[in-house]
């Protein structure tokens, strides 16, 4: 179940949707009433940003592998 009660301010709806369709981030004309399109875009952006956790984990893992390799090399 979900609910959506946000109304976009008059005049901003079409503008933000067109920008979003072109892949351009929509602009919230009024930050207090950013509009449904902007809010959806913002959530989508935050969702996609979570994928950065994967390369970050790989970078951290690379440091561990490097440490282990150095440890093995020194102990030989």
């Amino acid at each position: 179940m979900s609910r959506s009660i946000v109304r976009e301010p008059a005049g901003s709806q079409g503008k933000t949707r067109r920008r979003h369709a072109k892949g351009v981030p929509p602009v919230a004309a009024d930050p207090r009433h950013p509009g449904e399109t902007f809010l959806n875009w913002e959530t989508d952006r935050d969702r996609r940003a979570e994928w950065l956790l994967v390369p970050r984990a790989l970078i951290a893992l690379a440091f561990v592998v490097a440490l282990v390799l150095v440890g093995l090399w020194v102990s030989q």
Binding site: S2, I5, A28, L39, D44, E50, A60, F63
Partner: protein, 498 residues
């Protein structure tokens, strides 16, 4: 069976027992490793797909006792949030303050008519939960409120934070949402930088893992958003019987079948203690609260049949790995030391395996965590590196590169460790983590004295983790003695950056 056979059997038995003690020390390492292993899965197992544009009418409850210095700017900032102004009402529950709090709040109520309300308790001092309940009773009287934000007087919500929290309530299975509390003092000290890194680990990392596994340990006391239905299901009241009302609320929310979600992109700045004693007091309250929570929910731990998430093995291990860490930090060194006297070879192998594992986890967590919050990382990278303590980092180096610190480096200067010195060094690295908790107590004891200048040095040597373990030991002691559960407020003076 000859006496020799019997002694051999006894020897083997004792070695196995000591290895078990060492193995006990490996459990928190593996538990943390698992936690960090699941974090990347937050890229697919998160709540964003169920979130939606939802801006409910939010009643903000601010419990306030002598918050005259911070409450005014907090209200101004709340009223300036990127959120429809007609959908926010602020209720400051004044817990019989004796400073300028009532005047400041009344002035704000005049400035923002219909949006700011001053609720004053005639008698206060009963604690935060009682103060919150006073406000909750008020806002539940009518049906205006669709969601409630419980916050602290000193915290500052970044402009987009509230709407990033409310979007998760679009999913009616979500009962509560919490945000990322970032240490935000303008005048940072080594201690606030340690706390900043701790919050990255404990929130941006650990709570993402909890989002993935489906059980949240705690909604931050300064940033918890509840749906009206969740609050009503909780009886419209916050628990007042423990020192961990926020954790109880979190558990009760989830036990009633609702989700509790951590939103990493909703950022809230908070002022944290700048002295060891103030931090000790705050964390003692938290640790005692956690012990009380552990006892209250004893029927759920490791019982997935009673609750799939809170009773899961992974959640239980995460919870008890923190709670029982002080015991681990005593028992594992006993294991190392006993093995050292019985069988040096086994002791060395056990020590190296355990500390190499710990070193790998330490490198992984620090590198990973430093990438999660650029601002915190820039200011706290030194504290991130030395979070386990400089001495523990050297112990890891000893485990990874045997002979480096005790033989090779001294050899460069023509120095050599004697046999006796080598034994003392080995025993020291084996039992250091136990000593670290004692030194943390010394740091607390000497703060404010003539040798108080040594406190930061001791903290870097001991590390922030062992310091928290020392606090937990104190919590055990006080709970064992049934010490008074007095809710002592952490002093806040408005040092948070705007």
């Amino acid at each position: 069976m000859t006496l020799e056979d019997w002694l051999d059997g006894l020897h083997i038995g004792v070695v196995v027992l000591l290895l078990a003690l060492v193995g006990f020390g490996v459990i928190p390492i593996l538990s943390t490793a698992y936690q960090f292993f699941v974090i990347p899965f937050h890229s697919v197992r998160n709540h964003y797909r169920h979130a939606g544009p939802y801006l409910p009418r939010v009643a903000v409850i601010i419990p306030a006792w002598n918050e005259g210095q911070v409450i005014g700017p907090s209200i101004d900032r709340l009223m300036a949030l990127d959120y429809p102004a007609d959908r926010i009402r602020i209720y400051v529950v004044d817990d019989a303050s004796t400073d300028s709090t009532p005047e400041v709040v009344r002035a704000k109520a005049e400035l923002y008519p219909g949006s700011v309300f001053h609720l004053r308790r005639a008698t206060g001092g009963e604690g935060k939960a009682h103060t919150l309940n006073y406000g909750l009773r008020e806002i539940l009287r009518d049906d205006w409120m669709q969601a409630t934000l419980i916050m602290d007087a000193d915290v500052i919500y970044l402009p987009d934070s509230l709407r990033k929290m409310t979007r998760h309530l679009a999913d009616e299975t979500v009962g509560a949402v919490t945000a990322y509390i970032r240490e935000g003092s303008a005048d940072k000290t080594y201690l606030t930088r340690f706390i900043a890194f701790e919050y990255v680990l404990a929130q941006l990392a650990a709570r993402r893992a909890q989002n993935v596994t489906g059980a949240l340990a705690c909604l931050a006391g300064g940033a918890q958003l509840h749906s009206r239905r969740n609050l009503e299901d909780l009886g419209g009241q916050i628990d007042t019987s423990t020192l961990a009302e926020d954790t109880i609320t979190t558990f009760e929310t989830q036990l009633r079948g609702r989700r509790a979600v951590f939103e990493p992109n909703a950022v809230v700045l908070a002022e944290e203690p700048q002295s060891i004693r103030a931090l000790w007091k705050q964390r003692l309250r938290w640790a005692r609260g956690n012990l009380q929570v552990t006892a209250r929910y004893r029927r759920y731990w490791f019982r997935p049949d009673r609750n799939r998430q809170l009773g899961s093995l992974s959640f239980g291990l995460q919870w008890f790995s923190i709670l029982l860490l002080p015991q681990v930090m005593v028992l594992a060194p006993i294991g190392f030391l006993g093995l050292f006297f019985l069988d040096t070879g086994i002791a060395n192998a056990a020590f190296r395996s355990t500390w190499i594992l710990a070193a790998c986890l330490y490198v992984y967590t620090v590198i990973f965590a430093l990438q999660l919050d650029g601002k915190a990382s820039v200011s706290s990278w030194r504290e991130a590196i030395f979070a386990p303590g400089i001495v523990s980092v050297l112990v890891m180096v000893t485990a990874f590169f045997p002979g480096l610190l005790e033989t090779k480096i001294p050899g460069l200067f023509g120095l050599r460790l004697t046999v006796g010195g080598h034994i003392v060094w080995t025993i020291f690295v084996y039992i250091w983590i136990s000593i670290a908790m004692v030194v943390a107590n010394v740091a607390k004891a000497i703060e404010g004295t003539r040798v108080g200048f040594l406190v930061p040095i001791l903290m870097y040597l001991v590390g922030y983790g062992p310091f928290l373990c020392a606090v937990t030991v104190d919590a055990y002691y006080r709970e064992f003695r049934h010490a008074d559960s007095v809710w002592e407020k952490t002093e806040k003076i408005g040092r948070v950056l705007g």
